[in-house]
Subunit: 134 residues, 6 copies
């Protein structure tokens, strides 16, 4: 049984590699490399896979899951610049893929290891990633 909780956060970011020239960055990352940042409404679904507890009928208490996601992810990244404000992205280009990996790692250390977890993250109405760990 898999269960998910959805939360959103709004952040600025920019895709670029500091060791590359501006031309190379523009060639690889297109307008996502523009120097003054742009931003997105990220929509995050955290999926938790486990057994149903016969006493409560819950896989996991969604109130607890919501509080973990909010304190660890959405309150941390909401209204922030992922490149400048968030040490979690030091040395990491904040592509949707990499944001999903960062979120997975943070939550993996906060959610009981008896549960498998999967991150669904959409950057726009047209782009989405799914990451379920290495």
């Amino acid at each position: 049984m898999k269960i998910c909780r959805r939360e959103t956060f709004n952040s600025a970011h920019r895709l670029f590699r500091p060791e590359w020239s501006d031309e190379k960055n523009l060639e690889v990352f297109g307008k996502c490399s523009y120097p003054n940042y742009h931003g997105h409404n990220y929509a995050l679904e955290v999926w938790v896979d486990g057994e149903v507890n016969p006493e409560t009928g819950f896989v996991i208490d969604l109130k607890t899951l919501k509080e973990i996601i909010q304190s660890e992810i959405s309150h941390r990244f909401d209204h922030r610049n992922l490149n400048l404000d968030c040490k979690e992205f030091e040395g990491i280009i904040p592509t949707t893929e990499n944001i999903a990996i960062v979120i997975w790692k943070i939550l993996r250390s906060k959610i009981d290891s008896k549960f498998q977890i999967e991150i669904h993250l959409s950057e726009t109405e047209k782009n989405k990633v799914v990451y379920s760990g290495d």
Copy 2:
């Protein structure tokens, strides 16, 4: 090849265990345990996994699938109180997880066993479960 049909139903429910005190129920189930019930617009996707029939180009006739879902699930639970009106939930706390299991069991007995089936059930815009059988 997997194919799904989406249907909705609107029901009242309440989460509580009769052998627990009101305080314990409130502690575990929060406002979902309030005594006079609340309700949701449940959105159900029934996914059927099988081979494409080369004659029709269908995995399963969606008209038939729709009729099964409506007669067995949505007409049965729509505008009903899951705790009081539905014998399927006698002794079962109607969490989203348990509702998905009940739906899976009903449909499993009505849909040809050559198909695998998977239940996607959302309770609100923020909560969803997936159940594919035991």
Copy 3:
């Protein structure tokens, strides 16, 4: 300039007139009159119409508007039975129309009268009302 804030709440209700027979109630209200209640995920948009404040660029501070809607409406009605738990519906059949009127009256007394307000309330994906006052 009109601006809106969206909030949701999940409630149980039932449509019936106590002075009518069960048959008459069933005839008029259909399955919405079933005795043990059913429920919905109500989605509420509160639209506020006014001038843009040249200092802030805001018609109204959305944080303030959100707090008013949550304390006055969504926290009051969420996970409640509108017929049994909410004195605001004493003697009032909780149709979507009447819920919108009740919400409009509560908010009208809490939001500065220099603003016009309009209530958009959806009961399901298929039904919606708009009420802008008498």
Copy 4:
């Protein structure tokens, strides 16, 4: 890591087998067999499964993926009659299942074989298929 890009196209189609009588077609395909065609807004998600490139933080460049989907699929089928205009459906009944298979085959030959691909195709708000190859 899986990543998707969503595109849409609007086409006409009709379900029928030429070697069957009109009665048999109507019996099997219902109103989808009406002779003068009807149509849909198809929503396509192409999911690509692969490793994250450590240099770019991308599984695949979404700009490239978008261009492949548009040139190979959406520009080809948009505003077309799948039965009459598209040689890809010669001898193939354009059910949602078969359209997904045709799309998968076209994209499989255009996307690097180191990636697995999965097609999610919705025909209406209520019907959707997923195909990940044979």
Copy 5:
């Protein structure tokens, strides 16, 4: 008080004027003029504006409204070719604007004239019209 009911229908159509050349049609209507038709999932909202009946709490019985919309509009146009199958469009180019006018006229004759009615019709996720009569 305004209330709406949403229904959908899936049709084929083509935009062209028979007295114009193919070149002129292509120039004015673009790919919407392609000869073999294309199609859409039309989403229709019928808004009814009137007083709340103090006995029922309804502006209009939504069950009745639904039945009118289904019998007069969605069952009539669903899975049909608007140009070839529907006499309502004889001599009328089935643009979204004109479809909304046709729907408005049909419903105006079926819904009590004490109500104002407004048609909201979307052809795709990106295009929508509103028509409230002449």
Copy 6:
């Protein structure tokens, strides 16, 4: 008859008044005033109100409207920092209200004055404004 076209753009912004202290900015604008910007997926609907042209069945050619919106608005603001990159916001705090006014003014000068125009702009799933001119 009103018709709309929807487009989206993704931008970074920050709400603050340079003549105010950081404390005052934080008090008035909350986390929207954080110094390193955040961002949104803006969804824009441009509504055009006018007569239906009897020759074409169009109020306005949506292809033309799309091109105006893209060249004048979405290509201009997409992947940009509204505060730093866009001279249209010099001296203007980029609240949703003010962005809608700026868009209205740009489009008002590009769309034939026989049409009334109305801007619907959403910043998140919860916040939206409507502006129809002064």
